[in-house]
C-alpha cells in the first residue's frame, strides 16, 4: 500500500542560481571600483545610439567598456566600436534576455581594474529582462518619444525593476506630438520618485545632465571603496 501524499515546505527562490552569480559579479565590480550600468528597453528605442553617444563622451575622461546583448548579429557591437571603447557582443541565440552567467563569461578576458564604467545593453525586450539581476549598480529603462506615453503603464514590472528612466529621441517629440507631462506622470505612477532624463542621442541634448548623474554614481562607488 502506498503511503498518503504529504506536503513538505521548502521555500527556494527559483532564480537563486542567477542571483548567486549576480551577487558575486557585484562583489567583483565593487572590488575593482567600476560603476556598472545596464540598459533595458523595447527594440528600436535607441539604446545603441544612446550608448554610442555615452561611450564617446565619457571616453574623454574615463575608461569605459560595453557588453551588448542580442539574439543574433554583431551589428550593435560594430556600431558601438566606432566609439573606440572596448565592446563585446553577447549573442543569446533564442534567449530573450541576458542572465548573470552570460555577463560573467563575457567578462572573462577583461581586467575590471582597468575600467571606470561598464555598460551592459540588454536584449531589446520590456518583459523578460526584469526578472534577472546582472549585478549592475544602476538599471536604466529607455522609452523613445515615438513609442507613446503609456509604455510605463503597459510594462509596469520593468519600470519597477529599474532605477532611472531615460526618454530618448526628444528631437522628434514635437513631430510625434509626444506629451512629456503625460509620460512623466505615467512613470511616476508605476515607480514613484524615479528620476527621469530627457535626451537626444542625435543632437546631444540632455546628455550632460544624465552623464553628470553617472559621474556622481562612480564617485560614490570610489568613496565606498575607500572606506
Amino acid at each position: 500500500m502506498r503511503p498518503e501524499p504529504r506536503l513538505i515546505e521548502i521555500r527556494k527562490n527559483v532564480l537563486k542560481q542567477n542571483d548567486l552569480v549576480a551577487r558575486s559579479l557585484r562583489e567583483r565590480f565593487r572590488a575593482a571600483g567600476v560603476f556598472v550600468v545596464s540598459l533595458v528597453s523595447s527594440p528600436g528605442s535607441g539604446k545603441t545610439a544612446f550608448l554610442e553617444r555615452t561611450l564617446s563622451v565619457l571616453r574623454a575622461n574615463y575608461r569605459v567598456a560595453a557588453l551588448v546583448g542580442d539574439l543574433a548579429t554583431e551589428n550593435d557591437a560594430l556600431r558601438l566600436a566606432r566609439s573606440q571603447a572596448p565592446v563585446k557582443q553577447i549573442t543569446t541565440g533564442t534567449l530573450c534576455h541576458l542572465e548573470a552567467a552570460m555577463v560573467q563569461s563575457a567578462l572573462e578576458e577583461w581586467d575590471l581594474n582597468q575600467l571606470d564604467f561598464l555598460f551592459i545593453e540588454n536584449v531589446g525586450n520590456l518583459v523578460c529582462p526584469s526578472s534577472y539581476d546582472l549585478g549592475e549598480d544602476l538599471r536604466l529603462v529607455l522609452i523613445s518619444v515615438t513609442e507613446g506615453e503609456d509604455k510605463p503603464l503597459k510594462y509596469p514590472t520593468i519600470f519597477n525593476s529599474a532605477d532611472v528612466a531615460i526618454v530618448t529621441k526628444i528631437d522628434l517629440a514635437a513631430t510625434v506630438e509626444f506629451s512629456w507631462e503625460t509620460a512623466y506622470k505615467n512613470i511616476q505612477a508605476v515607480r514613484p520618485g524615479m528620476p527621469v532624463f530627457q535626451i537626444s542621442a542625435k543632437t546631444g541634448e540632455g546628455m550632460e545632465k544624465y552623464l553628470g548623474s553617472l559621474e556622481t554614481g562612480l564617485a560614490k562607488v570610489h568613496q565606498a571603496g575607500a572606506v
Partner: protein
C-alpha cells in the same frame, strides 16, 4: 517569453529536492508575485513540457498568486497598492515605492509521496 527556462529551473529544483529526500513529487507549490515578471498561464503550459522525461513527469504546478504590497509612509503600515499601474496606498492614496511583497518567484512546498512505505 522566458517562462520555459523558468519552468525548467523549477523542475530542476524540485528534482534535486526529491532525490535528496528519496520521494516522488506529485505537485510543486509556487508563489508568484505580480511583479515577478513571469506570466502564470505561460508558466503553466511550459511546466508540462519542462517535466517531460524527468522524474517529475505527470506532476502538477500549483501557483499561488501574490499581490503587490507596499510600505505606506503616511499610514506607517504595509498596504496593498491601488494597482500595478498606480503605486499608491489603497487606503490613503499616498504614492509609495517601497515594495514589501509581490516580487516572489519561489517554490514554497512540494506535495510528495515516499518511495518506500513508512516504517510507522
Amino acid at each position: 517569453m522566458h517562462e520555459l527556462s523558468i519552468a525548467m529551473s523549477i523542475v530542476e529544483l524540485a528534482e534535486e529536492e526529491a532525490e535528496r529526500r528519496c520521494v516522488q513529487v506529485n505537485a510543486v507549490h509556487l508563489k508568484l508575485g505580480a511583479l515577478s515578471g513571469v506570466a502564470k498561464e505561460a508558466l503553466l503550459s511550459c511546466y508540462e513540457m519542462a517535466c517531460e522525461n524527468t522524474p517529475l513527469q505527470g506532476s502538477r504546478l500549483v501557483v499561488e498568486e501574490v499581490s503587490v504590497v507596499i510600505y505606506c509612509p503616511s499610514c506607517r503600515a504595509q498596504r496593498p497598492v491601488s494597482s500595478v499601474q498606480l503605486f499608491c496606498c489603497s487606503e490613503c492614496g499616498t504614492s509609495a515605492s517601497e515594495v514589501v511583497q509581490g516580487k516572489e518567484l519561489e517554490v514554497v512546498a512540494l506535495e510528495i509521496q515516499e518511495c518506500a512505505p513508512n516504517p510507522v
